[in-house]
Symmetry: C2
Subunit: 248 residues, 2 copies
């Protein structure tokens, strides 16, 4: 049975405790620099051993929530909880709740990045994109998996913005939705024309960026992400609870 179903594992004590501690800090509205209870107090309060408490605190430390000093105690760190950005979704969920939000975030980024890329791209950037497009064309003919090329194409666009931070953010986002890009390029995706559609959209993005047409690049990128979301079965863009909204 090579099909790994990723059953929900029983939660670790340290994991649970680190969450509880996080809530505890938030509920008590502890400010930066405030001291947390000592390890011994936490042991008694939660009924676990010191090893568990220490692992929980180590996790919070890794997350940038707290800072510990030997002989003094643990303290709420400066800028607690916002030193890193994380996207947590139910394990392995490739569709449904949360994915829509991720795609919307990505759509915002990609359209802005395409706009910048159209304004700043160099010849080298363009030839890199064209090379990747060519290899995707091959994959399309041979009906091969090419989600890595897909990813690389989007990264090449980000690189053309000359902003390394945007590249890193795209790498991050790419990893988040990597699994959701596979269905476009698998056997069924080729058969249904999903791969061909994605390729057409990529070409449109390339043309706009090569032409230096910033608005067209933005529209092409936004359209590509919109279409990608729809290929995954996400409803086309609209949101619930419109009743409360103001007019149109």
């Amino acid at each position: 049975m090579p099909e790994c179903a990723h059953l929900p594992r029983p939660p670790r004590l340290a994991d649970t405790l680190s969450r509880s501690l996080q809530e505890w800090v938030r509920d008590r509205r502890l400010a930066e620099g405030d001291r947390l209870p000592t390890e011994k107090q936490l042991c008694e309060h939660f009924g676990v051993s010191r090893a568990v408490v220490r692992e929980a605190i180590a996790r919070l430390q890794a997350d940038g929530y707290v800072e510990t000093r030997q002989g003094l105690g643990a303290f709420v760190a400066a800028g607690a909880g916002v030193s890193r950005f994380r996207i947590d979704r139910p394990d392995g969920a490739t569709r449904g709740d949360g994915l829509r939000e991720v795609f919307e975030l990505r759509q915002l980024m990609e359209s802005g990045i395409a706009e910048l890329a159209a304004a700043r791209r160099s010849k080298a950037d363009l030839s890199e994109m064209k090379m990747l497009l060519g290899r995707m064309e091959e994959a399309l003919v041979e009906r091969r998996q090419a989600s890595e090329l897909d990813d690389a194409f989007h990264l090449a666009i980000a690189a053309a913005t000359r902003n390394p931070l945007l590249v890193r953010f795209m790498e991050f986002m790419g990893a988040q939705i990597q699994s959701s890009r596979v269905p476009t390029w698998d056997d069924e995706g080729h058969a249904c024309g999903l791969a061909a559609a994605a390729h057409d959209e990529h070409q449109a993005m390339y043309r706009a960026i090569a032409d230096g047409d910033v608005m067209a690049a933005r529209r092409a990128a936004a359209g590509h992400l919109q279409a990608a979301a729809e290929r995954l079965g996400l409803a086309p863009g609209e949101r619930p609870s419109r009743a409360e909204h103001v007019g149109s």
Copy 2:
């Protein structure tokens, strides 16, 4: 001596070990799913106790690099190293290298968020924004510090998108440039009219969002971020190395 100089603390064993382990994984080019050495092996190899090894692994786990399963071992996690997004700049750097990139990322996000907010805002969202604008107006008259209100206003716009992920991302970004927002609202900022300028731009954003004018909202947000960058002395938007670029 209240001046806390933040001396470099001696590194913890677990901290050092987690770094070593990370390098070890990279040097050996372990792929996703590959197994790490057992805790006992690591204890012997690095000459530390199991508690230290466990804390180091817990840290890697928190960072999303590895995944452990009781009775099996520790494995390199899928998408290792890109499960979190971090912006690292030299400590406390409020201007100069890197900040320009951060502002550009923020500008992309804000303009897209403002556009969505203009399309989806509810009456409650609008009254929240108006309340914050009113309090900023007071602060403007009384020449008070109001960077928290500034932050809250931007978060209110993000909330109007109905996408909690965008709100979280704005919280994250806000923490990154928090220190850079202070100069606008300090004594000198009030004197030079920086605070007044920011307030005008905020009002323009509010009007566009209230009118439901998506394009005006995008332009207002982009303009606000552009102006904010210029208030900090960042050169107005253009990039180096244009020589290589392709025409205009």
